[in-house]
C-alpha cells in the first residue's frame, strides 16, 4: 500500500505496509538515520521525534497513523543555526556515546517549547529517555542553560 507522510516539511509518498513503525519509515525509507532504534517498545526514547510539535516515540506509532501529522526529526532542528537546546548541549559537552542524544534533544526541545521555564520536576517527568552513559546531570543542566539563553 502507499502512505504519505510529512517529514521535515516535505511530503513523502511511500510504498510501505501501513503497520510499519514510523521509526523504520524514517530510517530505512527516508534514510534519515539521526532518529535511533533502541528498544522497539517505546521504553527508551531513542526514537523520539516531534509530531505536531509534541515529542513522540516513533518506534511505537504506525506510519499509517502518522499520515497527516507534521513530523520533525533531529535533522531539521538546525537547518539554519543550532537551536538553544543543541547549543547548550554543545556548550556543556552533554553527549558521551551519543546514541540516545537525538531522542534526548527532541524531548528537551519539545519540553522547552511547551514550558519556557521548566522546573526540575518538569524535567524529571519529561525526560524519561534512557541513557546508559550517564549524561543525565548534564542533560538537566543543559536544559536549564538553554532556557536561560532564550
Amino acid at each position: 500500500m502507499s502512505v504519505t507522510i510529512k517529514v521535515n516539511g516535505a511530503e513523502h509518498r511511500l510504498e510501505i505496509d501501513g503497520d510499519t513503525p514510523l521509526l523504520w519509515a524514517i530510517r530505512d525509507n527516508l534514510g534519515l538515520t539521526g532518529t535511533k532504534f533502541g528498544c522497539g517498545i517505546a521504553a527508551c526514547g531513542a526514537c523520539t521525534v516531534h509530531a505536531d510539535g509534541e515529542a513522540i516515540r516513533s518506534c511505537s506509532v504506525s506510519v499509517a497513523d502518522a499520515a497527516g501529522w507534521d513530523i520533525r526529526t533531529i535533522e531539521t532542528l538546525s537547518e539554519e543555526s543550532l537551536n538553544p537546546i543543541q547549543q547548550a548541549w554543545l556548550d556543556l559537552d552533554v553527549p558521551q556515546c551519543g546514541y540516545c542524544q537525538s531522542g534526548m534533544i527532541m524531548a528537551a526541545t519539545a519540553l522547552i517549547n511547551e514550558s519556557r521555564s521548566p522546573s526540575d520536576a518538569d524535567i524529571d517527568e519529561a525526560m524519561s529517555n534512557i541513557c546508559r552513559c550517564g549524561t543525565y546531570n548534564r542533560v538537566r543542566a543543559a536544559i536549564h542553560a538553554a532556557v536561560r539563553s532564550i
Binding site: D17, K36, G40, L82, L90, G134
Partner: protein, 725 residues
C-alpha cells in the same frame, strides 16, 4: 558500489572541514617509520597516524573505538600537544583498520580495559613530537638555520633570532623529503598547553544533529537488512527450517540458516522482522536446553562449600590464624549475571566478495577481523574494516559474533548485508558479566588486627571461553582481581588494595556453564569491588572499628589512603544531614583508584533516594579533566543501574529478561548530583573509563545497610524489598 557510502562515512566522521581549503590537497606527509614505544612489549608503527596537509589541516587518525569515553578528543590532545598546532586546525577521523594501529600492549588494534591513553601515552606524543621536529628541520633548511635554534608554536615555525616564520603548510613538501628523527624530546609537563585542559569533545557537534554515523546507520548501495531468530537455548542448533511464510512477506528476499540462528533478509528492518515472526524453525536445544541460572549458582555454591579449587594466593598459616582468632568473620556473597544492553542494539554490516570481505562495524576489536574473514572462508588478510561510532560498547563489542554473522549472511546472499538485532536478541544473546559466589573469611586478634584472610571465589571464566591460553591451570585472573594478590599461570597479575597480613589463602573454582560470559565494564572488578568492600565493612563491625579507619590501616599504598582521606574531607563523612545515610567504598583498578561516598535518604516504606555522590579519583595524570568527570559519572550510572536493578536469569535454557522494562536502568529523575575531585600527582597514568564502577555498588549497599539496619549479601538491591524512589 560501496564507494559512495564509504566516502560519505569518512566525510561525515571528519571533525571539522578545513578552515581554509587552500587549493588542492597537495601532498601531506605521513610519518613513515616506527616511533619506538616507550611501552616495552612491542614497538608501534605510527606512520598512518598523522598528516600535516599543504592546505593547513592537521589530520589525526584516531584508531581507538569512540564509545563515549572521549578518546577521539583525548588521544588527539596528546598528538596536538607535541605538534604545537592550534586545536582549530585539527581534524580527527576514524581510519580504516590497520596493523599500523596495533595496540602496544595487546599487539592488535582494540579498545579494551581502559587501556587507550595508558598504552598510547608515549607513542602518540612521539608522533606529534617527531612531526614537529621534521617541520623545524625543514624550516632550518629553508632558512639555513640550525633547527635547534628554532621554535614551533601554533602551526608555525619561528626563528627567534630574526622573527622569520613559516607556516607548517608551507613546509610540508620539504619536510616530506626528510628522514624521521631517531630521537625526539617530549615537552616538559610544565609546558603543556593542551594536555590537562578541558578541551571540548571533538565528537559533540556530530552527536547533536543526527549526523554521527553509528553502525546501525551504515548505508551501502544494494544493502539488505538481516534480522535473526535464535535457538531458544545457548546450546541450540537448527534442525529444520520452514521459510515459506517468511519468504511470502513483502520485502523479504532470503532466509539464511547458520548453525544456531536463522536470519531473515529483507529490504529494511521491518519486513525482516515480520519475516522472523512468520518463520518456523525446528530446534535441537542441546545440552543446555533446560539449563538455568539457579543451577549455575548451585554449582558455584557447592564449589565454595567443598573448599576445593586452585590456590591463587597463599602465605603463612591461615588455618592457625583462624584457630587462634579472637573473632572471625565468615561472609558469603553472590553477584548476578548482567547484560550489557548498550543503547545501540547489536549490528554489523558486511560485503563479502570472493576476493575481499569489507566490514563496517561499531567494534572494539578491529585487529581481530582476520578471524571474521576466516569464518567466511577467506584468508585472514582479505578483510577491510571501517569503524563507526559505537552506541556504547561496555565490552560487548569486543566479540566477533556480529561481524561474523554479517559476513556469512552477505556471502549467502551475494549482497552487502546489515545484520541488526532487536533489543530482545541483544539481551538474550549476550556474553554476560559472570555471576559468581564468594566466601570471605577474616580472623581478628585480640587487638582487632587482621590476623588471617581467606577468600574462595567460584564462577565462570571469560578467558576460558574467549582466549583459552590466558586461562591456563584453570585460573582466570579476572575472576579474582581485586580480591587476591598474585599472577595467573598465564602470567597475568591481579591485586588487592589491602594488606591482609601474613596468613592468607585465596582459592578459585572455575565452573564453566552453558551461559556465555564476557567482558563487562570493569570486568572482574565489577563484582569483586563490591565483595571486598562489603567484607571490609563486616571486618570493621566485628572489630568495633570505624570502616574508614580500618581501610586506612589496611591499605597498602599512600595513594589509596590519600583518596580515602580526600573523600572523607570532600563528602563530610560522619556529618551527614539529618535523615541522610552515608556509605563509603574505594577500589583500585586499571591503575586508578576511585572512591565514592553515596548518601541516601529513606521514606516510611523503605523506599530510598540517592541524594548525593562524592567521588575522588586518583588517575595519575589527567589529559582532559572535564572528560574524566564525565567518565566518573558514566561509570556511576552504569554501576547504580546494575547494583539496584541488574540481573539476568535463565530458566529452562531461556533468558527471562528481554527489554528495558524487565532489565531496568536508572532514570534521569533518579540521578543524584555527583561531585568529582581528581587527583593527578604525576603518578603512573591510570584508566578512566571503568575505574569508577567497582566502588559504586559497595558504597550504595553500605549506605543502605546503615539506613535500614540490614545486611545485603547479594545483588541486585531490588530483590531485597528495597525500592528506589
Amino acid at each position: 558500489m560501496m564507494s559512495n557510502a564509504n566516502t560519505d562515512l569518512s566525510r561525515r566522521m571528519v571533525l571539522k572541514s578545513a578552515a581554509a581549503s587552500a587549493g588542492a590537497l597537495v601532498l601531506g606527509f605521513s610519518l613513515p617509520g616506527a616511533g619506538r614505544a616507550a611501552l616495552n612489549r612491542s614497538s608501534v608503527t605510527l606512520g598512518a597516524w598523522l598528516s600535516v596537509e599543504a592546505d593547513g589541516r592537521v589530520r589525526i587518525a584516531q584508531p581507538q573505538s569512540e564509545m563515549g569515553q572521549g578518546i577521539w578528543t583525548s588521544m588527539a590532545q596528546l598528538i596536538a600537544e607535541e605538534l604545537e598546532v592550534d586545536w582549530e586546525q585539527v581534524e580527527i577521523y576514524s581510519p580504516t583498520a590497520s596493523a599500523a594501529f596495533k595496540h602496544p600492549i595487546y599487539g592488535f588494534q582494540t579498545t579494551a580495559e581502559s587501556f587507550s591513553i595508558r598504552a598510547f601515552w608515549e607513542p602518540a606524543r612521539q608522533v606529534g613530537a617527531k612531526a614537529r621536529e621534521m617541520l623545524k628541520a625543514a624550516a632550518g633548511e629553508a632558512w639555513g638555520a640550525d633547527p635547534a635554534t628554532l621554535t614551533a608554536r601554533k602551526g608555525k615555525v619561528v626563528n627567534p633570532a630574526n622573527g622569520q616564520t613559516l607556516a607548517y603548510s608551507e613546509l610540508v613538501e620539504r619536510a616530506a623529503q626528510l628522514d624521521e628523527p631517531a630521537q625526539v624530546l617530549l615537552k616538559d609537563p610544565s609546558e603543556w598547553r593542551v594536555i590537562g585542559k578541558s578541551i571540548k569533545r571533538a565528537d559533540t557537534r556530530l552527536k547533536i544533529d543526527g549526523s554521527a554515523v553509528y553502525g546501525i546507520d551504515v548505508r551501502i548501495d544494494g544493502m539488505l537488512t538481516a534480522v535473526p531468530l535464535f535457538a531458544p537455548s545457548f546450546t541450540g542448533k537448527v534442525k529444520a527450517v520452514d521459510d515459506s511464510a517468511a519468504l511470502a512477506v513483502k520485502g523479504v528476499t532470503d532466509v539464511v540458516a547458520l548453525d544456531d540462528v536463522v536470519y531473515v533478509v529483507a529490504e529494511g528492518y521491518w519486513p525482516a522482522r515480520k519475516g522472523v515472526e512468520a518463520l518456523r524453525v525446528d530446534w535441537d536445544t542441546g545440552d543446555g536446553g533446560a539449563y538455568s541460572t539457579a543451577q549455575a549458582f548451585e554449582t558455584f555454591r557447592r564449589a565454595v562449600a567443598d573448599g576445593k579449587g586452585v590456590s591463587v594466593e597463599s602465605s603463612g598459616d591461615s588455618a592457625a590464624a583462624f584457630e587462634t582468632a579472637a573473632k572471625t568473620v565468615d561472609l558469603s556473597l553472590e553477584v548476578p549475571y548482567l547484560a550489557h544492553a548498550t543503547m545501540e542494539p547489536m549490528n554489523a554490516t558486511a560485503h563479502f566478495t570472493p576476493d575481499l570481505l569489507t566490514v563496517w562495524a561499531p567494534t572494539q576489536a578491529q585487529g581481530l577481523m582476520g578471524f571474521v574473514a576466516q569464518a567466511a572462508g577467506l584468508p585472514p588478510e582479505k578483510v577491510v574494516c571501517h569503524t563507526t561510532f559505537l552506541g556504547c560498547g561496555l565490552g560487548r563489542r569486543f566479540e566477533l559474533d556480529l561481524p561474523i554473522h554479517a559476513a556469512l549472511v552477505s556471502k549467502a546472499v551475494s549482497r552487502p548485508v546489515r545484520v541488526l538485532w532487536g533489543r530482545e536478541e541483544d539481551m538474550r544473546r549476550d556474553f554476560y558479566r559472570p555471576g559468581s559466589v564468594a566466601r570471605l573469611q577474616g580472623a581478628l586478634d585480640a587487638d582487632g588486627n587482621v590476623s588471617g584472610f581467606r577468600v574462595h571465589v567460584a564462577g565462570s571464566s571469560i578467558l576460558a571461553r574467549s582466549v583459552p591460553n590466558l586461562a591456563k591451570g584453570d585460573v582466570d585472573h579476572t575472576n579474582v582481581e581485586g580480591l587476591a594478590d598474585g599472577a595467573s599461570p598465564a602470567g597475568l597479575p591481579y591485586a588487592r588494595q589491602y594488606d591482609m597480613g601474613g596468613n592468607v589463602d585465596a582459592v578459585f573454582s572455575m565452573c564453566n556453564t552453558p551461559i556465555p560470559v564476557g567482558f563487562w565494564r570493569s570486568v572482574g572488578h565489577s563484582a569483586n569491588g563490591w565483595m571486598m568492600e562489603t567484607f571490609v565493612n563486616r571486618l570493621a563491625a566485628a572489630g568495633g572499628t570505624d570502616p574508614v579507619d580500618l581501610r586506612l590501616r589496611l591499605m597498602k599504598s599512600d595513594r589509596n589512603r590519600a583518596v580515602l582521606k580526600t573523600l572523607v574531607e570532600k563528602s563530610g563523612w560522619g556529618t551527614a544531614r539529618p535523615g541522610w545515610y552515608q556509605g563509603v567504598a574505594v577500589h583500585e583498578s586499571f591503575s586508578s583508584i576511585v572512591g565514592h561516598v553515596i548518601e541516601i535518604s529513606k521514606d516510611a516504606d523503605s523506599r530510598f533516594r540517592i541524594e548525593r555522590i562524592t567521588t575522588v579519583a586518583d588517575i595519575g595524570v589527567v589529559v582532559n579533566p572535564d572528560n574524566v568527570r564525565a567518565q566518573m559519572e558514566s561509570a556511576i550510572v552504569t554501576g547504580l543501574s546494575a547494583a539496584i536493578f541488574g540481573e539476568i536469569t535463565v530458566e529452562d535454557g531461556v533468558v527471562a529478561q528481554e527489554n528495558f522494562p524487565d532489565y531496568r536502568m536508572l532514570e534521569l529523575a533518579q540521578m543524584p548530583p555527583v561531585e568529582v575531585t581528581i587527583i593527578a600527582n604525576g603518578d603512573p597514568i591510570g584508566g578512566v573509563g571503568e575505574a569508577a564502577m567497582p566502588a559504586t555498588a559497595p558504597a550504595l549497599t553500605h549506605a543502605l545497610e546503615r539506613a535500614m539496619g540490614i545486611e545485603i549479601h547479594s545483588l541486585p538491591i531490588s530483590k531485597h524489598g528495597l525500592t528506589l524512589a
